[in-house]
């Protein structure tokens, strides 16, 4: 193991951090397959962090996607003292990973809906266990379905949503990643958002 390991939360991980760092630097240089190889690592980190946030999270507080991605980045390279490079490339990978997590999770839920027994839960773990409420209560399956349809109808719009919604990238940076004009991203982003929201609002009409 390399580097110091006494930073908060920096426990040894299943992912070989040397590889992650290497992959990240290859990613920065624009090597396509780096993103592909990095994805599973990011996936694992994000899934762990996101899952954990839930238990410490109150519905009236904000969890920013950037914070989540940032944390995953730090964990991957195991260097909390290193400057967050704010890499758009990494965000893009992260966004993809999150999209993937969402999809897998939705799949699991679909399976459950099909016939698994619905576990009745007692409040054993009630500490901080608050169901996110209000506008954030998106059904994961619905969201996954909607995103799936969107990427079929207009892959670029779907990708823009991923980068913004999961990766936390602002318009200019999305434009950078996708190598299109900001103007285009802005237009697609507004369209896609309106469309998805309309899709998800569904029966409320």
């Amino acid at each position: 193991m390399t580097g110091s390991d006494d930073h908060a939360g920096d426990r040894a991980g299943a992912s070989p951090e040397g590889d992650a760092t290497l992959l990240l630097s290859r990613l920065e240089r624009g090597e396509e397959d780096a993103a592909e190889q990095l994805l599973p690592l990011v996936y694992q980190q994000l899934r762990a962090i996101a899952g954990s946030y839930f238990r410490g999270q109150r519905s009236d507080h904000t969890l920013q996607p950037t914070a989540l991605v940032h944390e995953a980045y730090l964990k991957l390279i195991r260097a909390s003292d290193q400057q967050w490079s704010d890499s758009s490339h990494f965000c893009a990978v992260a966004a993809t990973a999150m999209r993937q997590i969402l999809h897998d999770h939705a799949d699991a839920k679909r399976a459950l809906k099909r016939g698994g027994p619905d576990a009745r839960k007692a409040d054993l773990e009630v500490d901080h266990l608050t169901t996110p409420s209000g506008e954030r209560s998106v059904d994961v399956v619905d969201l996954d379905d909607a995103l799936g349809r969107l990427s079929e109808l207009d892959p670029r719009q779907a990708r823009i949503i991923e980068l913004w919604f999961f990766g936390g990238l602002p318009v200019e940076r999305v434009a950078e990643v996708l190598d299109v004009s900001s103007r285009t991203v802005e237009r697609d982003w507004r369209r896609a958002k309106a469309w998805l929201n309309a899709e998800l609002a569904g029966g409320d009409e």
Partner: protein
């Protein structure tokens, strides 16, 4: 139209319309959508969402939040039918580490909780370690810990899924329990103390929890059947049961390589309860105090309803920084009633530095319970005011008689006075007439007399003793000795007094001055009462201000020639007397006597009381003749006016006797002492403190006149009464034990004396601790009796301890310190440590001359010692005047005075050494006669003296 077409058209339309005002949108939609309602609806929905700026995707936190909330459910969602030999009934909960099921065991038939961990164990080595740890956990057996019955693994693919089988507990989580039952702070604290007990049990078995939090503690309503009554009681607090003890360690620390996800999840989920050192991530430095920290946070949360740090929404690194660096709001600032002890206890448990926390969960629970019992908590460096406050709260009954009496006094007097004053003012036409003033004064008199009577029952000594005892009682057995050692340096009487001084009296003085600036008579009366109270408690310095202010205030309002001024002067005189300012005291008493005589005539009770004070000041200055004359006059007057059995008459009889004894008119002194004692026994009974007191004075007299048998009998009688009345360890009883020992050592019964001195010393240490001045004097006494028995090295140890202690406690010039210095000086002479001995001799001599005057018996003792020292070191000419002076002085105290005997012998040796053998023989012979008379022929001293006389005679002959 395909959906793709609809989509494309909708997008186009949306682009066109999204920046158009809604009113104008309809026209465009009408025109462009034509007869396609599907398209139109689609666009309208999009526009609506766009305008609202919100929608499902517009929520705060974006995709991360959506993922987070949904992932919490993303654990194994299928319920297994069977795990090991347990049949799963239902899922009862899930957390970061695993899923908990209710399950049934066949044999024994019981309901269990089954916790299946999320992370598998993949290596043989880890499996062995898991089994070992599980075995340790099985050893935990405490009613506050959910029992672990079994730990095993269930094969799942190529890994083994660990699971724990635990006691199934029907209960609700700690925080829910506290909230839903509307627990008071006290109930919550008691419940938490029980949690601490359980944690401590595990710690003692070497198991840390490391993930303590409210959701890990279930509270079960406890039904207790008491054996004696067979009745069923429901404990209203409930029995907490801690879940998952040690599981964090089993599944985390040792297996962290494989449990990254669990680990991370856990960190964030419980970060609020994690100690700074835990968050620093170095598991090597963790010890049980990280659980103490968690208990502190739980206390904070349960009592205040919130967490000490707001960590919500913060990335882990930031959360860790906050916990490690930011000071949380003190709980008292969140919930003001928790200020004080609870705040201190919670604060100490949550200290960022582990070594500043409670060392153990047991200490935490002890302190919680001390608080609940209103005893002092140890979290504090105990300030005096704090100790007094705790003491007062705990001893409410006593408080009425003690601490709060002062408050009552001040508030009572002030309150009554305010009432009086306003009554006077309401009746304004009469307010300033003499009659009204007189009435007011009378009322005030009765009020403050009542208060003064209450005060006489206040005993700072007793209070100090109780304070100390309550501290020791509260300490756990194992730590009592240690605490006792630490308390030794504290003089509790002083603590009690100082606390009263600062908390009650100084404030009372301020209040009196401010409140009654406009009512000078009321103010004067209150000042005088306060002064008297302070003096009664020995807080003389503070008393002087109000005492003299009272005189001035009365004089200004009523003129110098008033009974009020006379009374105030008398009080001031008494104060000066006990402050050893005898001349000033005499002046005040005389002025008071003059006023009383002027107003009430000769020998009024007022004048007699004042003259008694004048006499006392004479006596203390060594002017015995004047003292005797005055005491005689007072006694005669009182016999005439009050009768011979009146308390004051008896007291005067005793006072005259003491003065006569001072002036060595021993015969009359003796008969008066006996008279006083007899009348006291009749008037007050054998078991009354006044009788004890006069008995003690008579006993001292009997010692002086060498009537040892009678003294012995008297003291033994007194002691028997006291042991029965007051108990063996009462201060007065101990004082009599000390006196009895003194008689016994004088008559040569050294071993009995030593045993009593030791009993006295032990009793006093028990009461006051080792640092107390009385205890130090008894320490010196023990040294003295050891020295008499020739154990001089042991004696030196005690003498030094006494001297060093008294210097610190009383100052170098105090008579007791000087006595101790003198004794040590004599012993060192014996041990031939001459330089130090000489220094101490001189110190004792000069000190006594300055403080007590040349005629005081103690000064004579120092004079004798100086002579002895100089003679012993061969300075015969320098020794001569001292020994001659000692003999002269002691001869004045009676032919058989013990000091005279010693002086005769010592001067005899000097003469012998000077070669003046005839004089030597005469002196020693006189001593021998006296000793034979008083001590008997068999007393060791008598025998020695006889032998010495023989030697001198031999020299004379040869």
């Amino acid at each position: 139209m395909t959906s793709r077409d609809v989509f494309a058209l909708a997008m186009e339309l949306f682009d066109e319309l999204c920046d158009v005002p809604p009113a104008k949108q309809q026209a465009v939609l009408d025109a462009r959508c034509g007869d396609d309602p599907e398209l139109r609806a689609q666009v309208e929905r999009m526009l609506k969402q766009d305008a609202s700026g919100g929608g499902a995707l517009g929520g705060e936190g974006g995709g991360a939040a959506v993922l987070a909330s949904s992932l919490a459910d993303d654990l194994g969602t299928e319920i297994p039918e069977q795990v090991g030999r347990y049949r799963v009934v239902r899922e009862i909960g899930r957390g970061g580490m695993g899923v908990v099921y209710e399950a049934e065991q066949e044999n024994p038939k019981r309901r269990v909780a089954l916790k299946v961990m999320r992370q598998g164990i993949s290596t043989r080595q880890l499996l062995r370690r898991f089994q070992h740890e599980a075995h340790v956990l099985g050893q935990l057996d405490h009613r506050g810990i959910a029992q672990i019955y079994e730990a095993d693994t269930e094969a799942l693919g190529n890994t083994a899924l660990p699971y724990f089988v635990m006691e199934y507990i029907e209960g609700e989580p700690l925080d829910v329990h506290v909230r839903e039952r509307g627990f008071s702070h006290r109930e919550t604290l008691e419940l938490m103390a029980r949690v601490c007990d359980a944690v401590h049990h595990a710690h003692q078995k070497g198991v840390m929890h490391r993930d303590l939090k409210p959701s890990n503690v279930l509270v079960k309503e406890e039904t207790t059947t008491t054996a004696t009554h067979g009745s069923t009681l429901i404990d209203s607090i409930g029995q907490p049961k801690i879940l998952d003890f040690g599981i964090a360690r089993v599944t985390d620390a040792d297996m962290q390589v494989t449990t990254l996800q669990t680990d991370v999840g856990q960190i964030v989920g419980t970060v609020a309860y994690m100690s700074p050192e835990q968050l620093a991530g170095d598991s090597r430095v963790l010890d049980t105090r990280c659980d103490v920290y968690a208990l502190g946070v739980m206390l904070y949360r349960m009592l205040s309803g919130r967490l000490p740090h707001d960590l919500a929404g913060k990335p882990i690194a930031e959360a860790a920084r906050v916990v490690q660096q930011d000071e949380p709001a003190r709980i008292g600032s969140v919930v003001p009633p928790l200020r004080g002890d609870v705040e201190t206890i919670v604060g100490k448990a949550m200290e960022k530095q582990a070594d500043r926390r409670y060392d153990s969960a047991a200490q935490l629970s002890d302190d919680i319970r001390r608080y609940l019992r209103q005893e002092p908590v140890l979290a504090h460096p105990p300030s005096r005011a704090y100790l007094l406050r705790r003491f007062a709260q705990r001893n409410k009954g006593l408080v009425v008689g003690v601490a709060a009496a002062f408050v009552l006094l001040v508030l009572g007097v002030i309150g009554t006075s305010i009432g009086l004053v306003s009554a006077l003012q309401a009746n304004s036409s009469l307010a300033r007439t003499n009659a009204a003033l007189e009435q007011a004064n009378e009322d005030l008199d009765s009020v403050s007399d009542f208060q003064a009577a209450q005060l006489s029952s206040i005993d700072a000594l007793e209070m100090g003793i109780l304070m100390r005892q309550s501290l020791l009682d509260a300490a756990p057995d194992a730590e009592r000795d240690d605490l006792s050692a630490r308390l030794q340096v504290i003089n509790f009487t002083d603590q009690a007094l100082e606390a009263l001084e600062v908390n009650i009296f100084e404030r009372a003085l301020e209040a009196v001055d401010q409140q009654f600036a406009e009512q000078p008579l009321v103010r004067a009366k209150l000042l005088q009462t306060l002064a008297e109270t302070l003096r009664t408690l020995g807080i003389n310095d503070l008393a002087r201000g109000p005492a003299s202010d009272a005189i001035e205030a009365y004089a200004q309002e009523l003129g110098e020639m008033s009974r009020e001024v006379a009374g105030a002067r008398q009080e001031y005189g008494t104060l000066l007397l006990v402050s050893n300012l005898y001349e000033d005291a005499g002046r005040e008493f005389q002025a008071a006597a003059d006023i009383f005589r002027e107003l009430d005539g000769v020998d009024s009770t007022g004048e007699l009381a004042a003259l008694n004070g004048v006499a006392a000041s004479y006596r203390n200055r060594g002017q015995f003749a004047d003292a005797i004359t005055l005491h005689r006059r007072v006694l005669d007057g009182r016999r005439r006016i009050l009768g011979p059995d009146h308390e004051f008459t008896i007291s005067s009889t005793r006072n005259l006797a003491i003065a006569l004894e001072d002036a060595t008119e021993l015969e009359e002194a003796g008969s008066l002492f006996r008279e006083a004692y007899t009348r006291a026994r009749e008037a007050f009974g054998d078991e009354d403190e006044r009788t004890f007191d006069i008995g003690a004075a008579l006993a001292s007299h009997l010692l002086t006149i060498a009537q040892y048998d009678e003294a012995l009998e008297l003291i033994e009688r007194t002691l028997t009464s006291q042991r029965r009345m007051l108990g063996d360890s009462h201060p007065e009883t101990l004082s009599s034990i000390n006196k009895l020992a003194a008689v016994l050592d004088t008559i040569g019964r050294y071993e009995e004396a030593e045993a009593l001195y030791r009993e006295c010393l032990e009793g006093q240490i028990e009461l006051y601790g080792e640092g107390d001045s009385l205890v130090l004097r008894s320490t010196g006494n023990l040294g003295y009796i050891l020295n008499l028995q020739g154990k001089s090295e042991e004696a030196e140890k005690y003498y030094r301890k006494a001297y060093v202690g008294l210097q610190r406690m009383l100052g170098p010039d105090h008579p007791h310190t000087l006595t101790s210095a003198g004794n040590l000086a004599s012993l060192l002479l014996q041990l031939e440590q001459l330089e130090e001995s000489e220094e101490l001799h001189l110190l004792a001599y000069e000190g006594r001359m300055a403080v007590l005057g040349p005629d005081h018996p103690s000064t004579l003792n120092a004079v004798y010692n100086m002579g002895n020292m100089l003679r012993t070191t061969g300075k015969l000419n320098e020794a001569e005047p001292y020994l001659e002076r000692a003999l002269e002085g002691y001869s004045g105290l009676g032919d058989d005075h013990i000091g005279r005997q010693y002086s005769l012998v010592n001067l005899g040796w000097l003469r012998e050494e000077q070669g003046r053998l005839d004089e030597a023989a005469e002196l020693i012979e006189t001593a021998l006669e006296s000793r034979t008379r008083t001590l008997g022929a068999d007393h060791p001293l008598t025998k020695t003296t006889a032998k010495e006389l023989e030697e001198v005679r031999e020299k004379q002959r040869g």
